[in-house]
């Protein structure tokens, strides 16, 4: 959508002053909050407690980040979250993309039912499924990182399939017909020709899957049984809780920043794509 920028016009801008104030207030608050947290992550606990965070009288205390990363186990949490996000993003594509494709191409026994089930599954609250899933995990002896990876993959399948379905539906059947004439099998046609054609959709849906897995908290809390498999959200909660005993405020705020940064940086680069994806996805009423 190309928009022509209106010429600067004092009268017009003045009429919008209240509007500017509202959004500036919101953004200003965020800037203050983030700068203070960054300041605190580079300060000593004493400076934080006495309210002298942004003076940096004793310099920048980068060692807070080293403490957080090493002694407070953020490196483990971070690695786990990265593993969960990357592996689930790939896994969910492998499951959802082929299904979305056949659903968009053919009507077959149960295809309508599967579509409806996918849409309904997106709005099933986690509380309705975690209890039996917990039972299954215990009974089948599935533990550790693989359990959370499997759960995250399954958690994202409905959204991913529905999102990709719409994109496959827009592709012309000519591609497949041409491929068939050239003797390309249907399966190969999908992986080599059709899937790459919806690359923009794959990127968008993967960003959303990544954000969702990185920020997931509820299932992580329930299914995390050891430090070795703790992702960042639950790990940060543990750091905050142990603060009362360690008294290391600087380290805690450094941990907050480390957890905050990855998705923040992703957003800085991808904000346009993310924003247009929020409303383009499932939001159709």
């Amino acid at each position: 959508m190309e928009k022509t920028k209106p010429k600067f016009n004092w009268k017009r801008e003045c009429r919008m002053l209240p509007g500017y104030l509202v959004v500036l207030l919101y953004v200003g608050f965020m800037v203050v909050m983030l700068s203070w947290i960054i300041g605190a992550s580079l300060s000593t606990s004493r400076e934080i407690l006495t309210g002298k965070v942004l003076n940096f009288e004793s310099g920048f205390h980068w060692e807070n980040y080293i403490t957080a990363w090493k002694t407070q186990n953020v490196s483990i949490f971070f690695g786990n979250s990265l593993l969960y996000s990357v592996v689930s993003c790939a896994g969910v594509l492998l499951i959802a993309a082929p299904s979305a494709y056949v659903l968009s191409r053919w009507h077959f026994t149960g295809s309508r039912l599967i579509r409806v089930a996918l849409v309904l599954s997106m709005s099933v609250p986690a509380i309705m499924i975690i209890m039996p899933l917990y039972t299954l995990a215990v009974r089948w002896g599935i533990r550790g990182r693989i359990l959370l990876i499997a759960l995250y993959i399954f958690m994202r399948v409905p959204y991913t399939a529905i999102y990709m379905l719409d994109f496959f539906a827009t592709l012309s059947h000519d591609y497949e017909e041409a491929a068939a004439i050239d003797g390309c099998s249907a399966g190969r046609t999908f992986w080599v020709i059709m899937l790459p054609l919806i690359q923009p959709a794959i990127i968008t849906v993967t960003i959303f899957n990544f954000l969702s897995v990185w920020n997931e908290f509820f299932m992580a809390l329930i299914f995390t049984s050891s430090k070795e498999m703790t992702p960042v959200g639950v790990g940060l909660l543990q750091i905050v809780n142990s603060m009362k005993y360690s008294g290391n405020y600087g380290g805690m705020f450094a941990a907050v920043i480390i957890v905050f940064l990855p998705t923040f940086l992703l957003y800085l680069v991808m904000s346009r794509r993310i924003i247009s994806g929020v409303t383009a996805g499932g939001v159709k009423g």
Binding site: G51, P98, F108, M131, V256, T263, S271, V283
Partner: protein
Amino acid sequence: MKKNKTLIFLFIAPTVICLLLMYVYPVFRTVIMSFFQVEDLTADLSDWSFNGVDNYIKIFHTAGFITSLKNFLAIWIVGGAITLSLAMLMAAILTSGIRFQGFFRAAIYLPNVVSAVALATMWVQYIFNYDYGLLNQFVTMLGFDKIRWLGTDGKLWAMIAAYIYGSIGYYMLIYISGIEGIPADLYESATINGASKSTQFFRITLPLLKGIIRTTITFWTINAATFYLWSKLFSPVQTEGSTIVPVVYLYDTVFGGKGVVTRDAGAGAAVGVVLTLIIIAVYLLTDRLLRSNDLEY
């Protein structure tokens, strides 16, 4: 195009397994479990004993659950009214031809992208902190005494305020996409006929956004009913009456927590079913009240 049955089967099977394993089976089992006396989640089916609606009667006679429902209502109604109105206000501002709207949209949506645990920690450990927090610095600057924002009385509202701040952006984006879908000539002719900006908003924008408002109410209801993370971070170690919400109650009942004598998976399942029924009821109600009368434009 020719139907290739083997291909269809191979391509659809993993998703069907996912649906059955992750959604269909667990939902049915949770519903059934809510009618049984089950203490431990890992108990064998043979240890389940049918007890009708006793689990439901039990939870509605438990003080903790009733308190959590009251807190849910506060979050849902007060939080919802404020969030959705502010989101609508922001959406109206950011579609009115303001400068830097791309930047503002991105900035206001930002809290939805970053880790909510990190965000909630910022609020608890900085904004609301008694000793060095932003709000108390502001209060002392104005010459007043420091306030215990996270005291028993204020904690729920402090939590709701922080949650609202982070949620506005999402609903704002939905409203913006709705507003941008309204044809510009409607506003042009309204302007020619002398309708003010606010008249246009109430007479054109709002009525045409009915369907979208309905959607956002449903989303908000789901988020309020399954509210958990913020409550956990505002009362991290021990569940407190001031911030307990139904899902926290469910978690403590099923997985154990301070003050829970015997675990009760059956009661936990009943809490889940009650929350789901609330969501469905709200959905059906808003669907009836705000039926979009298929306006053609």
